[in-house]
């Protein structure tokens, strides 16, 4: 990997964030007047005007945009009209809950998805392989909200084992995590399986065995590490689907995290909060993909040298 390769990647990442934030900024401003959402449809016109002047909403949109960018660069991300406090503060308060949900889900996804995929690939075309793939198709075909509501019906309503929503104890965590893990682990299992199958039939596996390695040794030393390379790219997508799934799952289970805050803030046209959350999501996506790219260049010696043409 060369510095040039890294620099290219970082510049591209920054541009992506800027593009996403700008789009969101403009779309939000064009899609409704926050003054009406906050003060109500039958509010006094003078009050509405005062609100707009107070928050600079009466300015032309490009002036608002430049103001927004300059504020952002100075660390001021705006004010939440709805919660009537600093928007960043409101967002950061919810962040730990979402990170907890994502962390636990991520852990289970990796612990279940990868071994299942490896096992299926090693027993290619056996009934175990077919079963694993069947379960996995079912897993990622099932929308989060359907599975979530189904789980609530089963565990909360029928058996009364778990709380329907909220947070605080590990019991609260079970259903949201389960809902998200099913879909994520299914995708991971499929990717792992196909990555493994690809690698298991490479000529270098045969060479490894011709040297005297036993099958399982060749798998451990040559197949698993090489299959991990394409799998790293999946992690990039994974963070994206985790966030998207999180928004739905948090809403279903009334989980007090960023996803639910995003949904309510969009509905209330709480512009600053939406902007911050979108920015956070964009940054985390871009950052993950940046890390994936750099990691790729490090894991696969062919990548860096191809890009620079040595």
């Amino acid at each position: 990997m060369t510095p040039l390769y890294a620099l290219q990647k970082i510049t591209r990442a920054l541009l992506t964030v800027l593009l996403i934030v700008s789009t969101v900024f403009i779309v939000l401003r064009l899609s409704g007047d926050p003054a009406i959402y906050v003060l109500g449809l039958d509010a006094d016109p003078q009050a509405l005007d005062a609100f707009r002047t107070r928050w600079g909403l009466d300015q032309p949109i490009f002036v608002q945009y430049l103001q927004f960018l300059s504020n952002c660069l100075q660390g001021d991300f705006g004010y939440s009209y709805f919660e009537e406090r600093d928007a960043m503060e409101a967002v950061l308060e919810r962040l730990p809950q979402t990170l907890l949900l994502m962390g636990v889900t991520g852990l289970f996804t990796v612990l279940i998805g990868i071994p299942a995929g490896v096992y299926a690939a090693l027993h290619h075309n056996s009934w175990i392989d077919r079963m694993t793939m069947l379960v996995s198709v079912a897993g990622f075909s099932l929308p989060n909200f359907v599975l979530g509501i189904f789980l609530i019906l089963l565990f909360s309503v029928t058996w009364q084992l778990l709380p329907t929503g909220g947070s605080g104890t590990w019991q609260h965590l079970v259903m949201p995590v389960l809902t998200m893990t099913v879909a994520e682990a299914a995708v991971f299992a499929r990717f792992t399986r196909s990555a493994m199958l690809e690698v298991l039939h490479q000529p270098y596996m045969r060479t490894a065995r011709a040297k005297g390695l036993r099958w399982h040794q060749a798998v451990r030393r040559h197949a698993l590490p090489n299959a991990a390379i394409p799998l790293v790219t999946v992690v990039g997508f994974f963070v994206g689907t985790l966030i998207a799934g999180g928004v739905v799952t948090e809403s279903v289970f009334a989980w007090p995290g960023l996803g639910r805050l995003l949904v309510t803030s969009v509905a209330n046209r709480d512009l600053a909060v939406v902007q911050i959350i979108v920015m956070l999501i964009a940054c985390s996506m871009v950052l993950t993909n940046l890390i994936v790219d750099l990691l790729y260049g490090w894991l696969d010696p062919r990548v860096g040298s191809l890009r620079t043409g040595n």
């Binding site: 060479t207 005297g212 036993r214 090489n226 696969d300 062919r302």
Partner: protein, 333 residues
């Protein structure tokens, strides 16, 4: 003397969704110490599968019958544990495309060290390991071996990679090297170097070599014996000089006639008409009959048995080419 490797009526079939497909159909083959045996035939004649069977490297859907003996002892070719002990230390194999036979994300050094470690019972220090790896690379003629240890396969040329693979296979000092079309993917000049290297291994280490190839020129130059395969069967085998100067089987004759010759003004090559039939579409009788210019009625009904042209030269054909004058003279003297 006891042969190093012996196959007796080896049959390999592959279980597919459409039922078993026979790919090797009764091969009898002996490889002695220090000899280079050429295994030739068109693609799909079962050469590679025969070799993979001996290495115990066939896929799980392969069904194997008959026996393979190593120094008189029967090999449990489907037993990975037993075979892994022999692989690398007794028999080793090199492959067609050297660029993909090495792990692309590991350095040459790491892959070499691995080969050395597996074939050494006691633990070796890093330093000893490196010395041994450098020795191996030097043995196979890799220039500047110190730099190569840190290189990745994609940074080396095809010819160098093939030398590295050979070095890896020599780590356990095997008595037999199976070279499955080792030069097919290489430049002509590099081909000659690799073939030269193989000959050197035989003369210096007394190693036996099975050379699977399409190149009859290479066989003529390097091999002691040649085995001609067609559709999973051996159709003719014997010393290279005898088989090439007096091919008895029409298939061998066809292969030789389809080669361009530098000493002949006749520019017309004679390709063998038709193509190799798919293994599950073999007709009854001799498998070559549909393409054979000599085919008689009996060729379509019964399979020809191996018969002797002389004590060393055998072929399986009902209507063979006659013994030519040269050979008859050689025989008489």
């Amino acid at each position: 003397m006891q042969p190093l490797l012996e196959m007796r009526n080896l049959q390999v079939g592959f279980a597919t969704e459409l039922g078993p497909v026979p790919v090797v159909r009764g091969v009898d083959l002996q490889i002695g110490r220090g000899e280079i045996v050429g295994l030739v035939g068109e693609s799909g004649s079962g050469k590679s599968v025969t070799c993979m069977a001996a290495m115990g490297l066939l896929d799980d859907n392969a069904r194997l019958q008959g026996e393979i003996r190593w120094q008189g002892k029967r090999l449990a070719t489907q037993n990975d544990k037993a075979m892994s002990v022999l692989r690398g230390s007794e028999l080793a194999m090199i492959f067609q495309d050297p660029m993909s036979t090495l792990n692309p994300v590991q350095t040459i050094g790491k892959q070499l060290y691995e080969a050395i470690c597996i074939n050494h019972p006691e633990r070796m220090s890093r330093r000893k390991l490196q010395t041994r790896a450098l020795d191996l690379l030097r043995d196979v003629g890799v220039p500047a071996p110190e730099q190569r240890l840190k290189a990745y396969p994609h940074q080396l040329s095809g010819g160098l990679n093939q030398r590295v693979v050979i070095a890896m296979m020599l780590a356990g000092n095997p008595s037999l090297l199976i070279a499955d079309e080792p030069t097919t993917a290489l430049d002509v000049t590099v081909q000659a170097q690799i073939i030269e290297l193989l000959q050197e291994l035989r003369s210096k280490r007394g190693m036996s070599i099975i050379l699977v190839t399409h190149d009859l020129g290479v066989v003529a130059e390097t091999c002691d014996r040649v085995v001609v395969m067609y559709c999973g069967e051996i159709v003719e085998h014997g010393p290279v000089s005898k088989v090439f100067s007096n091919p008895r089987h029409p298939y061998t004759h066809g292969l030789l006639a389809s080669l361009p010759r530098i000493d002949s003004s006749d520019t017309n090559l004679e390709p063998i008409p038709g193509v190799v039939p798919h293994p599950d579409q073999l007709s009854e009788g001799c498998a070559f009959a549909p393409r054979c210019p000599h085919a008689a009625a009996c060729c379509y009904s019964g399979s020809p048995m191996m018969q002797c042209s002389d004590s060393e030269h055998l072929f399986a054909c009902f209507s063979p080419f006659p013994v030519n004058a040269e050979s008859r003279q050689a025989h008489a003297s």
